[in-house]
Each structure stands twice: as C-alpha cells, then as structure tokens.
C-alpha cells in the first residue's frame, strides 16, 4: 500500500511539473494556435534566471536571507521569461499567426539561437541551483512513505498557477478579452478590443508561466542550455491529450501522462515506460482526436 502511495505521489509530482510547463503552452499553443517550439527555451530562461538570482544572493547578500531568494527567483523567472516572450511576439510571432508550418520552423530556429545564447553566457556544462534550506527535508507519513518538501512546494506552485490562470481567464476583463479574441478575432476587434495588445500580453503570460516552470525545475535537478528540449515533447503531448485550448484539459493531460509514465516506468523500465505512454496517447487520440476536453478556439487555418 505504501509503495502504491509513494508511486502515486511520484506520479502526481511529475504531473505537477508537466502541468507547470504545459500551462504556458496551453495558452500559446492551445488558445493562440502558435506552434512555439521555443517554449522549452522559456523554461530554460526561467531556470537560468533562478540561477542568476541565487548567485546574486550568495555573493551580495547575507547568508541569513539566502532562503528568500526563491521568492525573488519565482517572480523574476516569470517576469524575465514573460518579457522575452513579449519581445519575441512583437518582433516575430505576430507575423506568423495562421502560418503553422512557418511558426514551427521559425520558433525551432529561435530555440536553437536561445540555446546557443545560454551556452555563450553560462557555458555548456550543467549548473546547479541550491534549494532553500526549508525545502531540504521530507514530510514523513510513515516508515517508507516520505514526501520531499521540494516536490510538495512545486505541487503548491502548480496549484497556485492553475488557480491564477483560471482566475485570469474567467474572472477578469483581460481574460474575457483573451477568450473573445481566441474565439473570433475580427468580432472582438469590431467591439473595441485591441487584438494586437491582447495577443502580445497573452503570449507574454504563456512565456512567463514557462519561466516559472523553469524556476521550479532548478530545485529538482541540474540545469543546462538544453533543459527545455527535455520537456517540449511532454508538454505538447500534455496539451494535445488534454485538448488544445482547455486549461482544465491540461490538468487531466498532465495527470494522465505524469501518473501513467511513472506507473509504467515502475512496472517496466524508464524507456519502456515512455514507449507505453506514447502508445496510450496514440490510442487515446484515435478515439478523441481533439483531446479529452475539446474547445473551439482560433484555428491554425484562420
């Protein structure tokens, strides 16, 4: 029973990381229809932002306040990645709306440029980010069952982000405008919605969320210039399985892939687990080609 609960927690933990990474993509790909292959690099930008903040705290501030770097890192990783997303949207992405193949190729190129940029600035080897001391231990439930605080903290961040995105989309004027633009761009403009501004801010929010995911990832492993590429396939899979455009779909997609992958890996091997989850996704998409929760949004063909 304890082993089952431990595996379940591991699955939920992987799901929460996937969800964090996929929330941004659910917005940029799911709602806006932009195939952004550079999404993973926004994760990487967020991770390196946390690394820089950590180094700044280590170097310039007293050790007693070191733990509070994580708050600054969380905020800055969102803002820096969001700002980079904003610049990218204004310079390049806005010319690619409705051009799926072009956006795929261009953003792939951008991802390579960003990776090389990270290599030039931080070097090729992976670097580590020290987690705050209050995340070092585990919550002991019973003899074998201990839940690491780091994983619990990431789960908490994922839940807060999810609630934040939900509140933004369904409880604010900005969210209403985003949904209107995604459903019918010309009509939204005809009512007075500045659609270019909505596009830019939506893309920035999606990129910022990816940055936040990157920040969270620094606490469970080393980071490097190719950090994002490790997650890009799983995050796209999460959004597609959940149903492009559906925030709640992303939660189910992340849960399906995270828990499924962990379970398959436990029963077989790491690589076989991956293969099996891919097979499950292919079978699922045969029956529900638009994902678990299909939503009508601005289509890529528009």
């Amino acid at each position: 029973m304890e082993l089952f609960l431990m595996q379940l927690f591991n699955g939920i933990s992987v799901s929460s990381i996937l969800l964090l990474a996929a929330l941004g993509l659910a917005i940029t790909f799911g709602l806006m229809g932009v195939i952004n292959m550079a999404h993973g690099e926004f994760i990487m930008i967020g991770a390196y932002t946390a690394y820089v903040v950590q180094n700044f705290f280590k170097k310039y501030l007293p050790a007693s306040v070191f733990d509070s770097y994580c708050i600054v890192a969380i905020l800055l990783s969102f803002l820096v990645a969001g700002f980079c997303g904003l610049i990218l949207e204004k310079l390049i992405i806005r010319k690619l709306y409705g051009r799926a193949a072009d956006s795929l190729l261009v953003t792939w190129g951008i991802s390579l440029i960003l990776q090389q940029g990270a290599r030039s600035i931080f070097g090729s080897p992976n670097v580590g980010v020290e987690a705050p001391s209050f995340l070092e231990n585990s919550l002991k439930i019973s003899g074998m069952l201990a839940l690491p605080y780091k994983r619990l903290f990431i789960l908490l961040i994922a839940v807060i982000c999810l609630l934040g995105v939900y509140a933004l989309m369904f409880k604010t004027r900005q969210g209403r405008n985003i949904r209107a633009v995604m459903q019918n761009r010309n009509m939204a403009a005809s009512l007075g919605v500045n659609t270019s501004r909505v596009d830019a801010s939506t893309f920035a929010i999606g990129s910022g969320l990816a940055g936040l995911a990157g920040c969270a990832l620094t606490w469970i492993g080393a980071i490097g210039p190719t950090l994002g590429t490790n997650y890009i396939v799983d995050t796209f899979m999460t959004v597609v399985v959940g149903g492009a455009g559906s925030i709640i779909g992303s939660v189910f997609g992340a849960g399906f892939i995270g828990v499924g992958e962990t379970a398959f890996e436990f029963m077989t091997t790491a690589s076989m687990g991956k293969v099996l989850i891919f097979v499950c996704v292919i079978i699922l998409l045969q029956f529900r080609p638009k994902g678990i929760f299909a939503v009508h949004t601005r289509s890529l063909e528009d």
Partner: protein
Amino acid sequence: MTFKTESLYATYGEGMVLRHVDLEAPTGRITCLVGRNGAGKTTTMKAIMGLVKTPEGSIQLDGEELIHLPAYERARRGIGYVPQGREIFPQLTVEENILLGLEAKKGKGEIPDFIFETFPILKEFLQRKGGDLSGGQQQQLAIARAVVSEPKILILDEPTEGIQPSIIQEIGRVITGLKSRMAVLIVEQYLEFVLEIADYCYVMENGRIIMDGAPADLDQEKLQATMSL
C-alpha cells in the same frame, strides 16, 4: 450626428468589390442598404468597420476621418456593429458577450438599464452560454452587445436572416426605438422589412449605389427588378 462614406472603394483579395460608394446616415433616421446577393452590401459594412481593405475613399463620423483607423479604434469612436450571422461568442456567457460591447469604452462602465428593458430575455439568461441561445435570442444579444456602449451609429448586416417572423417584428420594433439615440444603417435583403422600417434607402448593384431616396419615392419597379435578379 452624421455618418457618411464618400467615394469609398473596397477590395476583396485581388478584386475591387466596392466602387465609389457614397452613403449618409444621420441620427434619427433608419437608413437601409438593399441589393441582391453579391451586390457588395456586406463588404460595405466590413469596409465601414475596417475589416476589408479600402484603398480609396472616406469614412466620416461627425466629421472625423476613420478610414485609416483599425477596427477597434472605429468601435471606440462610436460604430456599433451587428454582423451577418450574429457572430456572438458561443463559449462566453450572455453577460460576458454584453460586457465585451463595453470595450468600445475601454471596458469602463456597467451595462445600462435600457439594455435589459429593451431585451428582457437577456436578463433571464445572463449566465447561459451564448451558443445555447436560439437564433432570435442570439440576434437580440448581438444587438445588445453593439448598443451597450451607446454608439453614435449602429450598423446591422441582415438582422432578419434566419429569424422567425414573430421575432423579426420584435427586432423591427427595437431598431425603430433606437433611432432616436443613434444613427442606424441596415443591410437587408428582406424587402418587406425594409419598406416597413426604413426612412431612407440606398440600392446597390455590382458594388455601386444605383438609386437612393425615401422608400415611397423609389422607382418600385426598378427596385423589385434589382432585388429579384
């Protein structure tokens, strides 16, 4: 308040669809643009709203030139638009659909009482998804959304299309009631409806205005012939 277009040209892809269109729609008057399918009526509406290219001409609202402004700025200047097929947001609630109309005032203000006095059914269905309403209710929602910001001119593209006769009468009453608040410009194919509510008509053929005047003054034979082509 007067709205007018002068020598307006519009293109769709490579082809010129509108040629030299002069229209005038003052407050207190229901102005109708009639013509058969493909005459260029919907393109005229889209050109006014800034949704198709207009290489030449002028679109003026109270003397202010709008031709170079994007659609959202035209809405903010005071054009309320009810498109053909209504185009309500099906996934948004009735309330959200109406609130979007306030974006013409940059989202400021609340839904004024006259909206629910004019369309009591919308108050009843405020939390329903727009897509769950009937065709007639969606048309009322589309009009409510366009007039919630109290625009200077309301432009409606085929408001009777696909609507049952009893609701058409109701929509006619609503539009007539609005003309004291704003100018009204309607594109319509349903000639009976036009002759009932219009104060002034423009007849369009092949992207040009071929005749205009009060409905009673129009050459009825020519009008019928144009519409039945």
